[in-house]
């Protein structure tokens, strides 16, 4: 675990990513443009059949309003289906453990979580959900929620490409192509690969195995109502218990795992998520999972570049993402390597391994943590709660920046494009031109929409975390009161409002407060920006093209990329500095003060 080896692996990951992103991005642009690809001979007949069954006319171009309506209706139908499935779980098949239905706030939160591509989990998969729910409910949503995001960003790209027209494509076609040509084939390959590494894929009953060594533990005493009994001091009463055997949950894991990473969904089959050996068996599978998380968001920058007719435009955005990604990883890895004074005091050197899956070590865990929060994935191999304060600041900041460093599938790029529009606007003024991006003038409508896209999640985080802090039932959910507990709550709402879905852990999320307010945060954080993106796409498509000249600021060159990076960091810092000061920053200052 030497530094050169770490650097080699990290840059090896980025190298592999860049190598794959380019051809894959080109492939996606051909898919969305309806051009012929290597998969066409097999998949085009399926696609046509699908349209014929559903009555979709592929030449039917939609206005942005129709496109948005189709997207919302589609999501609504899937939301209701999933909600029904969660509430009716006992009567549905493939439930070998006989798991009961979910409480309605939890079902609501979970259904919202999966349609919004958040995959925030206020439950443990293995003890709450049946195989039917996992496969027909969640896995299907992992595909369609990701495809929805991809369709939206493609519509936005069309807005830039098209001139003086009112239409931005057909939602049903974009959705179908996303699933059929991109998500399904890749998931298939990835799932087979994961099985080869040891991920499981079955519908068996949970297995009970004897422990090689029996284990004694304190078990809380429960009263007749099933809630813990307390002594006079208010502490839970416990009794000694001995465990001789363990139950090992089974299930169709590999199929869900593949799309979980690829669609930046992040909802684990098991509570332990990608730290579970059945989900993520080997260091190689860990590497591949990270790659899968980053692949589509990174490749979409290439798709964007190709579709707008200038790959350099996509490369500039990719450069900004890469820079921030490397910087985030550097801070996190350095902070975890430096560990904490408390661990040093105990004589534990060699980095902070608390909360990390030892099979992957510091490096594998840290790479995963950065990748999962830079995108809107939210799968985890390490418990972010156990990171050092500055280390924990990194995933939190990555989420708070708006999930744009690669970002969610589709949502990452469209949020980044909104940032680019803000950056273009201010820099355009600074060089004395009414601003334009990709040949389209940036005017009042684009400003409104871009601001909604980049700020709405932050606004939701500020309001909901503020509410939580003065709600006694909400602060009671913290595992560690004080600055760390504040970070837990801030992280929870950041994760939900930005549709990430990872948890800082430590916070008991399955309460009415977090279920309901969280569901609202996820809905606003997903659909308000999505509608704004489509409205902007419609407006852009209607505009005429403005030719670049010497006086136009090139948006595919270093100065603009540099400026865009600064805008992203400043907007993030200005919005969240006070909250972060009361969370991770003061925790770090207190911790180093101990020294």
């Amino acid at each position: 675990m030497t530094l050169p080896n770490d650097l080699f692996q990290f840059f090896g990951l980025l190298g592999a990513l860049l190598l794959l992103a380019r051809p894959f991005g080109t492939f996606m642009s051909r898919v969305y443009n309806g051009e012929r690809t290597i998969l066409s001979p097999i998949l085009t007949p399926c696609e046509n059949l699908f349209y014929r069954i559903c009555g979709v006319d592929r030449t039917d171009e939609m206005s942005w309003q129709r496109y948005a309506l189709a997207m919302l209706l589609f999501n609504l139908v899937f939301f209701l289906t999933l909600l029904g499935m969660l509430l009716a779980q006992p009567v549905l098949p493939f439930n070998p453990q006989g798991l009961p239905d979910l409480s309605w706030p939890l079902a609501l939160n979970t259904a919202v979580s999966f349609i919004t591509n958040t995959n925030w989990q206020n439950y443990s998969g293995e003890s709450t959900l049946s195989y039917f729910t996992q496969v027909v409910g969640l896995t299907v949503h992992n595909f369609v929620s990701a495809a929805s995001g991809m369709a939206i960003v493609i519509a936005l790209i069309r807005g830039f490409v098209r001139r003086t027209t009112a239409t931005i494509g057909n939602f049903w076609v974009d959705l179908t192509r996303s699933v059929l040509y991109i998500l399904l084939p890749l998931s298939l390959v990835a799932a087979v690969f994961l099985v080869s590494q040891g991920a499981i894929q079955n519908f068996s009953d949970y297995k009970t195995v004897p422990l090689t060594q029996s284990l004694s533990y304190d078990k809380p005493k429960l009263n007749a109502m099933g809630s813990p009994m307390l002594d006079q001091a208010g502490k839970p009463l416990t009794e000694k218990a001995i465990a001789k055997e363990a139950t090992i949950p089974m299930g169709p894991v590999a199929s869900q795992e593949a799309i979980k990473e690829l669609g930046t969904n992040g909802g684990g089959f098991f509570n332990a998520n990608s730290a579970h050996p059945f989900e993520n068996p080997t260091p190689l599978s860990n590497f591949m999972e990270i790659l899968l998380i980053l692949l589509i968001p990174a490749a979409l920058t290439r798709t964007f570049g190709v579709m707008v007719g200038n790959p350099r435009q996509g490369r500039a955005l990719l450069g900004v993402m890469l820079f921030l990604f490397i910087a985030a990883f550097a801070v996190l890895h350095w902070s975890e390597l430096a560990s904490t004074p408390m661990l040093h005091h105990l004589g534990l050197i060699g980095g902070n391994l608390e909360g990390k899956e030892l099979r992957f070590g510091l490096l594998g865990s840290n790479m995963f943590s950065v990748a999962t929060t830079a995108t809107s994935c939210g799968a985890v191999t390490a418990m972010h709660d156990s990171l050092t304060p500055l280390g924990g600041l990194v995933p939190l900041s990555l989420i708070l920046l708006g999930e744009i460093i690669f970002g969610g599938v589709g949502s990452g790029l469209y949020t980044m494009l909104a940032f680019a529009i803000i950056a273009v606007f201010v820099s355009g003024l600074m060089i004395g031109r009414t601003p334009e991006y990709l040949g389209k003038k940036i005017e009042v409508r684009e400003m409104w929409m871009s601001i909604v896209i980049i700020l709405i999640s932050g606004i939701v985080v500020l309001i909901s975390s503020g509410l939580a802090m003065i709600t006694p039932s909400a602060t009671a959910s913290m595992a560690n009161p004080g600055a760390h507990g504040l970070s837990e709550v801030l992280y929870a709402f950041a994760s939900m409002a930005n549709n990430n879905g990872s948890a800082f852990t430590g916070l008991t999320g399955n309460t009415n407060f977090y279920n309901l307010l969280g569901a609202l945060a996820m809905l606003i954080g997903r659909y308000v920006p999505a509608i704004a993106v489509l409205a902007m796409a419609g407006g852009l498509a209607e505009k005429k093209y403005v030719s670049p000249s010497l006086g136009t600021l090139p948006t595919d060159q270093f100065p603009f990329a540099f400026w865009l990076t600064i805008v992203i960091l400043i907007v993030g810092a200005l919005t969240f500095f006070p909250a972060l000061a009361l969370g991770p920053i003061v925790e770090h200052l207190s911790m180093t003060g101990v020294n």
């Binding site: 201010v426 004395g432 400003m447 500020l462 504040l486 030719s547 010497l550 000061a581 003061v586 200052l589």
Partner: protein, 689 residues
């Protein structure tokens, strides 16, 4: 321009400052401040601090009254500085509008029953005139309204509008028929058809434009305001978020107090983009005012901003790129004549020629060979230029001196049965024509002396201006009625990027439409009626004030001096307005970093003493830290007023370099300056506390 400078007041003239201060206080009225929502929020915040001040006076608050009182005073000053900047920007325009208004009052008109100048007239007040009516204007009368001369010619003093005291000729027909209400007929008598109803005349529009009464925010200004309002909203929420977070932190640590309302309000005001929001209206108003100082009237702020975006500039050759008239620059003898003989012949042939070209031949001949009076014939019979012969000259002492185009002159010589056409004539004529000049052949009887090289003189310094334009990314296209050969030569000399030769109005219109379809912004200057369609099509259309009514109506910018290179100034001001906005926005937002480092540790220190580590400026106490940030935030506005009113200096350079250079000054500078400023103010406060 110098004639206007004398009447121009400095922006910081004492009288203007006083008037602006009074106006600034009036503008604190929320009903007028609502046009600037960010500053309205600051005013509401200021009101809240007045309440917290009263509370701390009564001992209800935790903070000492000197602190809440000071915060309140400086917040009010922040708002006042903002309204003051706007009032100051409007001040100079208002003064000029007042003087214009004087020239409009109490004018009477002689209304004619018909367009017949001999018809009976009735005396009516100017305000009763309507579009389409006819009036008679005679010597020493003020023209009662905007209109077009349909009969006669007059010398008109337009100083009321243009500041130019030399009278100009206005006559019916042609491109100089428009007259403006408020101007005075110096001599002559004309019949005018009124073209604007009262209240809509040029003078009325000018007054309301200058006063800013009708000033509408430009789309770009609104878009920037959207950004500022959104940032303000976010900062409002940030401050609102700190309160519950601090309540929780107090409960969790058992230390300190939740952040007080005064501190939250102070933080909000410091974070909100007050600097740019305060100066935003002033930037636009001052930009238009700077154009007024250059005698350019923009009929909308939008046109000026569009001028900053222009990629293609269509310029009329005559009067813009070249001085209006061709000049003789060279005498080229042919056959066995000497240059001096040639010059003498040309001089005599041109003596009776009063055209500028003819006079320039006389001047050149005198300069080159000191040809004095002896050479001059005492008398002679002038031969006027006629369409039939296309020659002009002088018959004197039995000799026929003629000058004219080569083919006409050769025909004339052949007509006199002269045979001796010098063999090198054709070659010389061809050479001169190829260089873009006009060859004028001179003869005496059947004897051809040589060729006068009549050249279009490109204005001095015009190449540099085109170079500047090119550096800004603006392509210049010369429009001329000349043949392509001449046009190409002049285009090369003036260093324009392209030219349109033998241009008809349809050609101009087509060129503009094609450029616009290819995604370019087109600016054009014009004065004639035949320019009107092209002007109406162009994105930025500058009409000369001497131009026709049609041209002036089609344009969105009017140049009172009728100097076509003004477009360059307009482009510059347009860019300056945008750059000033962009730079101040960047500066304003960059400032927030230092303010965070001043206020956040101060506000939270009682809960978490560890946060003292963030007090990188080592400010003396929490209260002085917060106060220093508030004072800095207020004072930076008056400090930047001169920049807002004069505009960022514009240097033509490629976009990327310009961005980097402005980022260094206003971005990096915006980060550093408040650290220094806040620390300095803190030190000063330390002297008193």
């Amino acid at each position: 321009m110098s004639k206007h400078l004398s009447e121009q007041k400095s922006i910081f003239d004492a009288a203007l400052l006083r008037a602006a201060l009074v106006e600034a206080v009036k503008k604190l009225d929320p009903r007028s401040l609502w046009r600037n929502p960010v500053m309205l929020c600051i005013e509401i915040a200021s009101c809240i601090t007045v309440i917290t001040f009263i509370m701390s006076l009564t001992g209800a608050g935790r903070e000492p009254a000197w602190f809440t009182g000071q915060v309140s005073v400086w917040l009010w000053l922040t708002v006042l500085f903002a309204t003051f900047a706007e009032a100051l920007a409007e001040g100079r325009g208002k003064a000029r509008a007042a003087s214009l208004r004087k020239s409009r009052t109490d004018v009477v008109a002689k209304r004619l029953a018909s367009a017949d100048p001999g018809g009976t007239t009735t005396t009516v007040n100017a305000s009763q005139l309507r579009k389409g009516e006819h009036i008679l204007a005679e010597t020493n009368e003020v023209i009662a309204g905007d209109g077009e001369i349909i009969h006669g010619a007059a010398l008109v003093n337009e100083s009321a509008v243009t500041g130019e005291s030399a009278p100009v000729v206005r006559e019916s027909g042609g491109d100089r028929s428009a007259v403006t209400g408020g101007t005075t007929v110096v001599s002559g008598s004309v019949v005018i058809r009124i073209t604007a109803d009262p209240g809509e005349t040029f003078l009325d529009r000018m007054i309301s434009l200058i006063e800013g009464a009708k000033r509408r925010k430009t789309p770009n200004e609104v878009a920037l305001e959207v950004l500022l309002i959104a940032l303000t909203l976010v900062f409002l929420l940030v401050c609102a978020n700190i309160y519950p977070l601090s309540i929780y932190s107090v409960a969790a640590t058992g230390l300190g107090h939740p952040v007080s309302l005064t501190v939250l309000v102070a933080l909000f005001v410091c974070l909100a983009p007050t600097t740019i929001a305060a100066l935003l209206p002033a930037i636009g108003i001052a930009g238009m005012d700077r154009l007024f100082q250059k005698n350019v009237i923009a009929l909308s702020g939008r046109a000026i901003e569009a001028a900053g975006d222009v990629n293609i500039l269509l310029l009329d050759k005559t009067g813009t790129i070249t001085y209006g008239n061709r000049e003789a620059v060279e005498f080229i003898p042919v056959g066995n004549h000497s240059e001096r003989e040639m010059a003498e012949a040309a001089l005599i042939a041109s003596l009776a020629d009063e055209t500028p070209e003819g006079r320039s031949i006389v001047t050149l001949a005198r300069q080159r060979f000191k040809l004095d009076q002896q050479v001059m014939p005492i008398d002679g019979e002038p031969v006027e230029f006629s369409a039939g012969t296309r020659l002009s000259g002088l018959n004197t002492a039995g000799k026929q001196y003629r000058k004219g185009a080569a083919d006409s002159l050769v025909a004339f010589v052949h007509g006199l049965e002269g045979e001796s056409i010098p063999s090198d004539l054709a070659q010389v004529v061809d050479r001169v024509a190829r260089a873009g000049a006009t060859p004028l052949v001179v003869c005496c009887g059947t004897e051809i002396f040589g060729v006068v090289n009549l050249k279009d003189i490109v204005k001095t310094g015009i190449q540099e201006r085109f170079c500047q334009l090119r550096a800004m990314g603006i392509k210049t296209v010369m429009i001329t009625g000349d043949n392509p050969l001449t046009a190409a030569a002049i285009a090369a000399e003036a260093q324009v990027d392209d030219f349109l030769a033998q241009a008809t109005p349809e050609d101009k219109l087509r060129l503009i439409k094609e450029s616009q379809e290819a995604g370019f912004m087109v600016a054009m200057t014009g004065d004639g009626t035949n320019d009107a369609p092209a002007l109406a099509q162009a994105d930025v259309a500058v009409a000369m004030n001497t131009g026709t009514q049609a041209a002036r109506e089609a344009a969105n910018i009017i140049d009172l001096d009728s100097n076509p290179t003004k477009l360059l100034d307009i482009v510059e001001v347009g860019k300056q307005i945008l750059m000033t906005r962009g730079n101040l926005t960047t500066f304003s937002i960059s400032n927030d970093i230092a303010k965070y480092f001043a206020i956040i540790p101060a506000a939270l220190l009682s809960i978490y003493p560890q946060l003292g580590a963030l007090n990188v400026m080592r400010l003396a106490s929490p209260q002085s830290a917060i106060l220093s940030a508030v004072i800095f935030n207020a004072l930076v506005i008056p400090f930047l007023v001169p920049l807002a009113l004069k505009g960022t200096k514009f240097r033509p350079m490629p976009a990327e370099k310009l961005l980097i250079s402005n980022l260094m000054v206003y971005g990096v500078g915006g980060i550093i300056v408040p650290f220094v400023g806040i620390k300095a103010i803190d030190l000063v406060i330390g002297l008193f506390v």
